[in-house]
């Protein structure tokens, strides 16, 4: 089922949580809403679920306008960050809850509910825990139960609010892979909120990057990584060094050219007008050269060898720290040595 939000605005008191946000998820798509806290991603998810209502704008699911439909009538599966399991109910009763509250005619028979619950317990790989209570389960198990409970009502779409937020790192990784499998098996259009860029890039078909109540970019993980649309996106994806640079208009391939310390490279970010720029260069996008070459002159502060690679922590004359990862460092390189970092790829944006 496709999902769309168009021009959604939401204010809480004086705070603008969403500022005219539009987005569309295709049938069967796995979408990530990525952003820092306060970016509006959870609010957007809750509006899609009918847990909040927008001040303006419309929501539709499967082409049907849902804007004024209450949560209980939307047939949306929602998985909460803190699981929100019913503590006084067994795991099986939690999962079956959505079926048992249906109005008389549409409520499945007791045996049918039991069968569905068993099936879902199997799906979330907890077949023997139906009689347990939530307090007796681990965090990962609880989240699986929460997912099974959301799937039991055969929702038209699945929404997950920071589904791994409350789990520790190891469980998180396992559950991440497993969630993708479940998604592929059910084919449900799914949208999940996260502030972890690895999680978003690893899991989603497309990632929606949000900041301050607006969408910065919607793209596939590859495109997002290769061509971040804005400096915010590039910065939020993490790891990149910020370096002052200059954009030169009218390069050969139709894009713009970026000058970093005399080294000229095509801009991998969307084209920008000539002038001062902030360049983002990832650590592995450097080579090193002897002092005097074109590039960024730096002093080596620390070097950490990890197997074949070496991570260099360097500083420019003005004290800006630049990190570079290079395959094979020259022999005899020690802290305090002067060297030049030569960028091999660059993404530049107008100076903010």
């Amino acid at each position: 089922m496709s999902v769309s939000a168009s021009n959604v605005t939401k204010q809480f008191g004086g705070f603008t949580a969403l500022n005219g946000v539009s987005l569309e998820a295709q049938e069967g798509e796995f979408l990530a809403l990525l952003g820092p806290s306060g970016s509006g991603k959870t609010t957007l998810l809750r509006i899609l679920a009918g847990l909040e209502f927008p001040d303006s704008g419309t929501i539709s699911i499967g082409g049907e306008d849902m804007s004024n439909r209450a949560a209980r009538d939307r047939q949306v599966g929602f998985v909460f960050q803190q699981y929100a399991l019913f503590r006084h109910m067994s795991v099986a009763d939690n999962i079956g809850f959505g079926l048992t509250v249906r109005p008389g005619k549409t409520r499945p028979a007791r045996t049918e509910i039991k069968r569905r619950v068993a099936e879902l317990l199997e799906l979330v790989q907890l077949p023997h825990l139906g009689d347990r209570y939530p307090a007796q389960l681990s965090g990962g198990q609880r989240q699986r139960v929460a997912l099974a409970r959301a799937l039991a009502v055969e929702p038209r779409i699945l929404l997950l609010d920071e589904p791994f937020g409350a789990l520790d790192a190891k469980v998180r990784k396992d559950l991440r892979r497993w969630l993708r499998e479940v998604h592929d098996r059910t084919g449900l259009t799914s949208i999940f909120v996260t502030h972890d860029q690895d999680e978003a890039l690893d899991l989603a078909d497309r990632v929606v990057v949000m900041d301050h109540g607006s969408i910065e970019q919607i793209d596939t993980p590859e495109m997002l990584w290769e061509r971040p649309a804005t400096a915010f996106v590039c910065d939020f994806l993490g790891g990149a060094n910020r370096v002052a640079a200059r954009a030169i208009a009218g390069s050969t391939d139709g894009g713009d050219t970026i000058d970093v310390g005399g080294v000229r490279l095509p801009n991998r970010a969307p084209a920008m007008a000539a002038g001062s720029a902030t360049a983002f260069i990832r650590p592995h996008e450097f080579e090193i050269a002897a002092p005097g070459s074109a590039g960024i002159p730096v002093t080596l502060r620390r070097m950490l060898r990890t197997g074949a690679h070496a991570a260099l922590e360097t500083a420019t004359a003005s004290g800006t720290i630049i990190e570079a990862t290079i395959p094979a460092p020259p022999e005899g390189l020690v802290a305090g040595d002067a060297l030049v970092l030569v960028p091999t790829a660059v993404r530049a944006y107008p100076e903010a």
Partner: protein, 280 residues
């Protein structure tokens, strides 16, 4: 019409529920309170003043204050001791001791009075000996104090035990390791941390001490002008059909209750984090 949020009741229902609750509270709580003051002033200010200034009323007031002035400080000492021992140390039978401290809450005040009659009454265990040595406990201040301590026993400890447990013993251990003596650790470290909780417990303890009726009714002997506390004085006036005077004296205690509620609410609003179980 779009619903406000997914988990709110419709406006009309909120309205009905609020009105029902407020109506119930108005009839059950506000109305009796108002009745005390209105009935007290029914015969005018002069009659009101006369009822309060009457010698028996004055002596009842004095006795109430004396009993509270002895029982409440004793309860503070007991409460502080109990909570220090229970909250700061780990020992056998702790849950049992806590249950014993709570025990007086589940004993009828009348029974609380009766037990002292069994001990100190003429046919009681110690009665003959007390009489032989001319010691008056029953129908005198000591009996009133004992009965009052009994009914107020849990108030201070109950407030302080969870509070002190919450605070642990790190700070005390730090102070001791820095060379402070036990007493100065208590005075400078523990007490500042629990002062609002202590005040809260004392407030409730005092309200109950000054207002206790059933227990003191049994041990006082109802000797007018001598062993009647204010609540007992009210009963006598009421039973003599001297309603206006009864309510006038009752309004004094109702005033005390209002002051107690006010202070208690102030503590809850301002120092919520420093009272037991209200920190979140």
């Amino acid at each position: 019409m779009k619903p406000a949020t997914a988990t709110a009741e419709p406006r009309w229902l909120r309205w009905v529920l609020t009105a029902a609750a407020l109506g119930f509270l108005a009839i059950n709580l506000a109305l009796p309170l108002a009745a005390v003051f209105i009935e007290g002033f029914r015969k005018g200010i002069a009659a009101y003043a006369a009822a309060i200034a009457e010698p028996d009323a004055i002596s009842a007031l004095k006795l109430t204050l004396i009993v509270a002035a002895i029982a409440v400080p004793l309860n503070i000492i007991i409460g502080l001791s109990a909570s220090w021992a229970i909250a700061k140390f780990d020992f056998r039978f702790k849950p049992f001791l806590v249950t014993l401290i709570d025990l007086p809450f589940s004993v009828s005040p009348v029974v609380a009075g009766l037990i002292y009659v069994l001990l100190f009454g003429m046919q009681g265990w110690l009665g003959p000996w007390l009489q032989a040595n001319d010691i008056q406990i029953l129908f005198a201040v000591p009996g009133l104090v004992l009965a009052t301590i009994f009914v107020t026993f849990p108030f201070v400890a109950r407030e302080l035990i969870p509070l002190m447990q919450e605070q642990g013993r790190d700070e005390e251990e730090a102070a001791l390791s820095l060379g402070a003596s036990g007493l100065s650790t208590f005075w400078h470290v523990t007490l500042p941390n629990i002062r609002w909780g202590l005040l809260y417990g004392v407030l409730l303890c005092n309200a109950r001490a000054m207002g206790e009726f059933g227990a003191v009714s049994v041990v006082s002997g109802h000797i007018r002008g001598k062993t009647n506390t204010l609540p007992l004085h009210i009963e006598i006036l009421y039973n003599e059909y001297n309603f206006a005077a009864a309510f006038a004296v009752a309004s004094l205690l109702a005033g005390l209750a209002l002051v107690t509620l006010l202070l208690k609410s102030l503590l809850e609003w301002r120092y919520a984090g420093q009272l037991a179980g209200r920190g979140h």
